[in-house]
């Protein structure tokens, strides 16, 4: 196996809050091979956003990295000086945001913004514009050269997200981080964006870290999936393995709650009982135990480690 393009080892991040230290991420391990698409799923507040903020080193001011390393092409991002990190952002690592309505500057034309992201290149302005137009065509925007003169408010949500994707891929990054890029879009657009992303990923050859809580999208798009719960990775493996044979009870429940999987009509959609544990005052043992219906004695006492080869889960019951 070749060295992964992104290798996160034992990453822990916490936030300084008035109530105390909120331990948002604890001992995260994650590998992304070049050119693969990795999905991260988990409910709100499980640390997905903190994880990507840590990767691009744009954490909130009250965040603290407690330990671990994030190796990108062999360099530890956490030890890079801010200038070097800035040089990586938008060049080697790009990002697409959740809400396309707010992620583009409203007072600048699309063309201006798309030439702006090429600020590191020494091409002429005309060359930058034509590259921008070609990129827009590749994300499926018709009449691209004409569209460069327009402002974001001339575009619909789906179009804007395509523009955002085009902007992110402009520099042919090694890693594209997509933070719920389809959550703000409706279902038909979602499919279009997903197909486009997959196609572009094949062309550009970048790895994608895809955050979503839409399991269908993950299943459709991703090669591998990482399930996060309360700041920990609870299960990871190929999408097929994790979705067909979920080992961790949380993954299993998450799949049960996916409306797309529910066969018969029901008024009450299934839910996972209970709430996320308090990350300031973590319970001992397994973090999922209070909500788990299969817990055994050892779950109360010992924190389960991630066990297994390519498909691994952090669960005492599954390990037995």
């Amino acid at each position: 196996m070749t060295a992964p393009i992104l290798n996160i080892r034992n990453l822990s991040v916490s936030y300084q809050t008035k109530r105390g230290l909120l331990r948002a991420l604890r001992n995260i391990n994650l590998q992304i091979q070049a050119g693969r698409i990795i999905g991260i799923v988990g409910e709100s507040g499980c640390g997905k956003s903190t994880l990507i903020s840590a990767i691009i080193r744009l954490l909130a001011p009250n965040a603290r990295i407690d330990g671990g390393s994030i190796l990108f092409k062999g360099n530890d991002l956490l030890r890079l000086d801010p200038e070097a990190m800035r040089a990586l952002r938008g060049d080697e690592i790009s990002m697409v945001f959740q809400d396309p309505m707010t992620s583009l500057n409203p007072v600048l034309t699309i063309g201006r913004q798309m030439t702006d992201v090429q600020h590191r290149n020494n091409h002429s302005k005309a060359e930058k514009l034509s590259r921008a137009a070609r990129m827009l065509e590749r994300v499926g925007i018709a009449d691209a050269a004409e569209q460069l003169n327009r402002y974001p408010h001339h575009f619909s949500g789906g179009m804007r997200q395509r523009v955002a994707i085009a902007m992110a891929l402009m520099t042919k990054p090694g890693l594209l981080i997509a933070d719920e890029p389809t959550t703000a879009l409706d279902a038909t657009l979602e499919v279009q964006i997903i197909n486009r992303l997959r196609q572009l990923q094949g062309d550009v050859g970048c790895a994608i870290l895809f955050i979503s809580h839409h399991l269908g999208v993950i299943a459709e798009l991703c090669d591998e999936v990482v399930v996060m719960y309360a700041g920990e990775v609870v299960e990871s493996g190929t999408t097929r393995d994790v979705f067909r044979n979920p080992d961790h009870p949380y993954t299993r429940k998450l799949l049960e709650c996916d409306p797309a999987r529910i066969a018969e009509a029901t008024r009450n959609l299934p839910v996972i009982g209970g709430t996320l544990p308090d990350l300031v005052d973590l319970p001992g043992g397994c973090v999922f135990r209070p909500r788990c219906d299969r817990s055994i004695d050892i779950c109360r006492l010992e924190r389960p480690a991630l066990r297994g080869g390519n498909h691994c889960a952090a669960c005492h019951v599954a390990a037995q």
Binding site: S94, G111, R120, H153, I177
Partner: protein, 288 residues
């Protein structure tokens, strides 16, 4: 690129639909032209004394009459416009530039810098302008440069605070985060992304600020803190007219009219500009 031109043509096209805005613009253009070409348009030398013809009412020779030294009031008003124009142009552009710089530093920089700058802004704002001007004049003596300096010092906090607030609101936006994530430097974000977003409110503020600055110059000159004696300024014309009000009302009226015109022109234009440039007000008729 053609987008900037498009911005101006679009703005002008919207302006054409607003009669008050067009009127404001017409008044502004008129004042600018008359002031710039004062030396050609003035029928007399504004300093030429004619003691046999003092405090005359308007005649065909002197359209606005003469003052207590027999000087032609119309010529003095036209030349006085130069003072007003110079003061407002210099004072507003300098205070806007400095206010923008400091405001962006406060709004985008670290918290401690923000606190320091806000305290400075508030301290400057808390001086009563006239008292402040009196103090400065006592130190340096009355001159036009003193007036400009006083106006700049008291206006910086106004621009600074607005820019700071706007910057703070903008920095939380996703597109700024997106720019960070795409590797833009702070200078680049401020120049290319914050500045275009705050340009419109600044422009509106500057336009509305012109009458205030012109009025302040007139006020300070009226009090004898501005231009020195023979130089005509709207304020000094007012002052002369006020002293001889019992003999002739014309100098006072002549000195006051341009102030009223400037105020109306820039206020109409500024409000119209605000309605056009503020997309939230667009299409709502935007009355104040």
């Amino acid at each position: 690129m053609s987008t900037r031109r498009a911005f101006f043509t679009e703005t002008f096209a919207s302006l054409k639909k607003d009669p008050l805005g067009i009127m404001g613009l017409a008044i502004i253009v008129l004042i600018l032209l008359v002031t710039i070409f004062a030396s050609i348009l003035s029928p007399y030398d504004p300093l030429e004394v004619d003691v046999y013809n003092r405090l005359a009412s308007p005649t065909w020779q002197h359209w606005l009459g003469t003052d207590q030294l027999g000087r032609d009031v119309l010529s003095r008003v036209l030349y006085g416009g130069r003072v007003a124009l110079k003061v407002s142009l210099v004072a507003i552009s300098v205070s806007m530039a400095l206010g923008m710089l400091l405001g962006m530093m406060a709004g985008f920089g670290p918290k401690w810098l923000d606190r320091i700058l806000v305290v400075c802004f508030d301290t400057l704002r808390s001086f009563p302008t006239i008292m402040f001007a009196l103090a400065i004049v006592a130190l340096t003596g009355p001159s036009l440069n003193t007036v400009i300096a006083v106006i700049i010092i008291t206006s910086i906090p106004v621009y600074g605070r607005i820019v700071r607030t706007q910057t703070q609101a903008l920095r939380e936006n996703d597109f700024i985060l997106a720019e960070h994530a795409l590797g833009a430097s702070t200078a680049r974000i401020l120049r290319d992304h914050i500045l275009p977003n705050i340009a419109a409110p600044l422009l509106i503020l500057a336009s509305m600020d012109v009458p205030a600055v012109v009025g302040m110059e007139a006020g300070l000159s009226f009090l004898g803190l501005g231009v020195s004696a023979p130089t005509p300024s709207w304020g000094s014309i007012l002052n002369d007219g006020y002293s001889y009000l019992r003999n002739s009302p014309w100098p006072l009226i002549a000195g006051g009219m341009p102030l009223i015109l400037v105020t109306l022109g820039f206020t109409f234009f500024g409000e119209s500009l605000r309605d056009i440039l503020d997309p939230k007000l667009r299409g709502k008729g935007g009355d104040s």
